[in-house]
């Protein structure tokens, strides 16, 4: 209680870098007036490893394993973006079967990332049970991908010109069993989470992002789709085998946290549809392009390749000066742009709501820091 006549002062509150709800080493310096935030200043870079600098000191293939460590939750999308950029640079065509395998594994990885988000996000809001459900489902995907790629998290599975290992009958059967299983689970998620009155109160009409803000901040992924803009690189700039599959882009109406949650949930259903179609139509043939140069030495030039990760657009910009090492590699990561809107939408909210908003952006901090 303040004495009468004394002025109310603003004070500084530190959120992170060890706060559990910042999902990694992210620090947000908050200026508070009572319970309300007047200014939020995210401080990033705690996990800066200099990936872009490493790229300039390695040859094209040596840099490939780094791609699993930028966004560790959707590592295969980064594998794909970088491989496609290099393939474009040297004019390499990937065989049809390899494209299908890339789509199947990348979509499985996307579902794993969304499942982790749902679980960890509800943990932020104080619900423990959904976390166990989500990790139970996600475990199935990790086992499936482990069989094919050899790792459970930081995948390095795609190669320039295709994929190194073919999928087998056991993997296909496992995928089909998983599709059936997860489809049955969506009802549980709806009953447990979507219809939960506490969850609705914490997320409806909180953290609203308008379409106009999306354009000014260059947001991508579920952040724009939640605000009602149907922008998905898989549709708007089709790559790989995506044009051959029938799927929808779920969008929200109000642009609040609830809409972003619903978009991610429906996206998982669409990913299952894509995987199912890809398994049904899986063509025979080689999984690796015939003439992959042993030494990758592209002609001078530059290339920009965008792919849709679970968080939005990953753009891989490579400048080649005709050397075996890239002259410059820029990783345009979705979380960096998506987080930059936080100072604007955090103003005049409560700390508890800030945690809800920050979680709904779905940041992966090592991706921002690079």
């Amino acid at each position: 209680m303040l004495e009468p006549g004394l002025e109310e002062k603003t004070y500084i509150l530190n959120l992170g870098p060890q706060h559990p709800s910042t999902h990694g080493v992210l620090r947000v310096q908050l200026e508070m007036e009572g319970e309300f935030i007047t200014k939020a200043d995210p401080d990033i870079g705690y996990g800066h490893r200099g990936h872009e600098h490493m790229a300039e000191n390695r040859n094209y293939l040596q840099f490939l394993p780094n791609m699993g460590r930028v966004d560790y939750l959707h590592a295969l999308a980064y594998n794909q973006g970088y491989c496609m950029a290099v393939e474009k640079l040297i004019g390499l065509t990937v065989p049809e079967r390899a494209e299908y395998i890339r789509v199947i594994t990348a979509e499985l990885n996307r579902i794993a990332s969304h499942l982790l988000w749902v679980g960890a996000y509800l943990l932020d809001l104080g619900a423990f049970t959904p976390f166990l459900y989500c990790f139970d489902d996600r475990e199935n995907i990790l086992d499936l991908l482990d069989r094919i790629t050899g790792s459970r998290l930081t995948y390095c599975y795609y190669r320039f010109g295709g994929v190194p290992r073919d999928i087998d009958e056991e993997f296909i059967a496992g995928c089909r069993a998983f599709i059936t299983r997860l489809r049955g689970r969506f009802k549980d998620y709806d009953n447990l989470v979507t219809k939960n009155i506490i969850f609705i109160k914490r997320t409806r009409d909180i953290g609203i992002i308008t379409k106009e803000q999306c354009v000014r901040y260059g947001l991508t992924g579920p952040m724009v789709r939640g605000s009602g803009i149907p922008y998905d690189i898989r549709k708007s700039e089709p790559y790989s085998a995506y044009p051959q599959f029938d799927f929808e882009i779920p969008i929200g109406e109000r642009g609040d946290i609830m809409d972003r949650y619903l978009v991610r949930l429906r996206e998982m259903e669409q990913s299952l549809r894509i995987i199912e179609q890809a398994l049904n139509k899986l063509p025979d043939g080689p999984i690796m392009a015939e003439k992959v140069p042993k030494r990758i030495k592209p002609a001078a030039g530059e290339v920009y390749q965008a792919v849709e990760t679970a968080r939005g657009e990953f753009g891989c910009y490579i400048v080649s000066e005709g050397d075996i090492k890239p002259y410059r590699v820029k990783l345009r990561v979705p979380s960096f742009g998506n987080l930059s809107i936080l100072p604007e939408i955090a103003v005049d909210t409560l700390v508890a709501d800030l945690v809800a908003i920050l979680g709904s952006i779905d940041v992966v901090v090592p991706e921002i820091d690079r």
Partner: protein, 148 residues
């Protein structure tokens, strides 16, 4: 066609180059070259056409820096790249007042290349510690695969 509309919108700015790009080879529909101090005007024209700032970065060449801006649109597939050559002794011009997204991107370019942006509201380092005294993506930084 959005690329035609952008071409028309950029025409009055008398830029160095506005040409269609080879999309299958580079991923660009439109390639533009501009002077760094023309960037706020270019950005305003791009925003008026509904484009968003996809990425902003720089490349360090021996004689000059090149600032690279990528613009894309939610409505239509059209990627515009703008290259702006910058003399190593000069400052760039900020487009943060047009695109708030540029705020962090320009801070990153300042942090990693040491390029200053005139008119930026808060030009601090963003990835490296504030007290760092180097800019690691400059080619004279000198670290190699064995010691980086």
């Amino acid at each position: 066609m959005l690329s035609e509309r952008i071409k028309k919108a950029l025409a009055p700015l008398s830029l160095e180059k506005v040409e269609p790009g080879d999309y299958n080879k580079t991923g660009y529909h439109l390639e533009v070259a501009a002077a760094p101090d023309q960037m706020p005007a270019v950005a305003k024209a791009m925003l008026a056409e509904g484009c968003f700032l996809e990425s902003l970065t720089a490349v360090d060449y021996p004689e000059h820096f090149t600032l690279v801006y990528h613009f894309a649109s939610y409505q239509e597939l059209c990627r515009t790249v703008v290259h702006a050559k910058l003399d190593k002794r000069l400052m760039a011009t900020s487009i943060t007042s047009v695109y708030p997204a540029a705020n962090w991107y320009e801070r990153e370019v300042y942090d990693l290349f040491g390029i200053r942006f005139a008119g930026h509201p808060d030009l601090r380092r963003i990835l490296l510690p504030f007290e760092a005294d180097f800019h690691p993506l400059r080619k004279d930084f000198g670290a190699t695969a064995t010691n980086a």
